[in-house]
Assembly symmetry: C2
């Protein structure tokens, strides 16, 4: 511990960031206080601002500051197709391909029984509500091709098929075990076209 | 970019942290907003608090909230010995060995000509002032055993010798190329005893 409670508190708070241990947190705190106090103040305000303004889109569940996000409000998209992704980063990767013109639903996670995240915790009932709006005819499952992403796709897919919807999965052009966010755009675009 | 300016601003601000790229920053922002808003608020307040209260000790230059830090105020230490370190983490590593009972001076960096950090930018004149208080007789250079740490020790050591002080360096028990913060305590303690 240092000579300053505020410094110790900052190190402790930085450890709340994912992937940051006590050594990294100390280095971050030293760096900010020694070389970038403006950055520290900027980050403080950005955190305050984001926690007070960012909420979830009522239709697709992604982060937004409005009740409904811009993409969901875009009436030129294809209302018969709904693409399910794990995170906003995955959605962004799909959007960059330009190969999909329907709407999205962002799970903001995946089924992970070992972490206690089942269908209820993931809030899949909101997805079902969205998918059963009477306009959607095909749901494209674009969860990651990891064990948990595949399990999530399986569970959601079965439930939606039972409710009469066509359910497809991104084609296996995406290498197994990989995460969409890190896959090149061409591969994703190809997998979209070949969805099964 | 997302549907939220606040979210984009948070990602941008998180990139001010050392070692954090755009992918890590996005993951951190998503994690805080999705799973740990309390953590985000805590971090916001900790940054605000630290930037407004943490300053440098007038004697040893370490981070503190008082004009002079607790260690510098401890009159039971040996005023004839001054140990020069790069960072508070290095000082903490030395303190944990229990093998040094003098005072410290924390450079808060190292000479790094390629980054434009020369003796003036590092503020070595404050070290010279501290070392020439009339009580200090030996200065122990405990900068890291990296190329830049060695160069820093060399430059500071030469200047202090010319001013009539005994200058020693931690013994080579510390493996070359390593950083003190990551060295086991026994090695550091041994190197302190064998200083040359
Ligand atoms: Zn939306
Ligand atoms: Zn001090």
């Amino acid at each position: 511990m240092s000579d300053s409670n505020s410094l110790d508190g900052l190190v402790e708070a930085l450890r709340r960031l994912p992937g940051v241990g006590v050594k990294s947190a100390s280095r971050m705190a030293y760096h900010l206080l020694q070389h970038d106090r403006d950055g520290a103040k900027l980050l403080s305000r950005a955190l305050e601002q984001a926690t007070s303004t960012v909420r979830h889109c009522e239709r697709c569940n992604t982060f937004t500051e409005a009740p409904v996000c811009g993409l969901c409000l875009d009436a030129r998209r294809d209302a018969t197709k709904l693409c399910v992704v794990e995170t906003p980063a995955d959605q962004a990767a799909l959007e960059r391909t330009g190969a999909f013109r329907g709407y999205y639903f962002v799970l903001m996670g995946k089924l992970s029984p070992l972490d206690g995240i089942g269908p209820r915790e993931l809030g899949v009932s909101r997805l079902f509500e969205r998918a059963l709006d009477g306009q959607v005819s095909e749901v494209i499952l674009a969860t990651n091709f990891t064990a948990e992403g595949e399990a999530t796709a399986h569970v959601i897919g079965e439930a939606l098929r039972q409710r009469g919807l066509t359910v497809t999965r991104l084609a296996r052009g995406v290498p197994a075990g990989s995460e969409l966010e890190y896959v090149d755009l061409g591969t994703i675009a190809h997998a979209l076209v070949d969805r099964r």
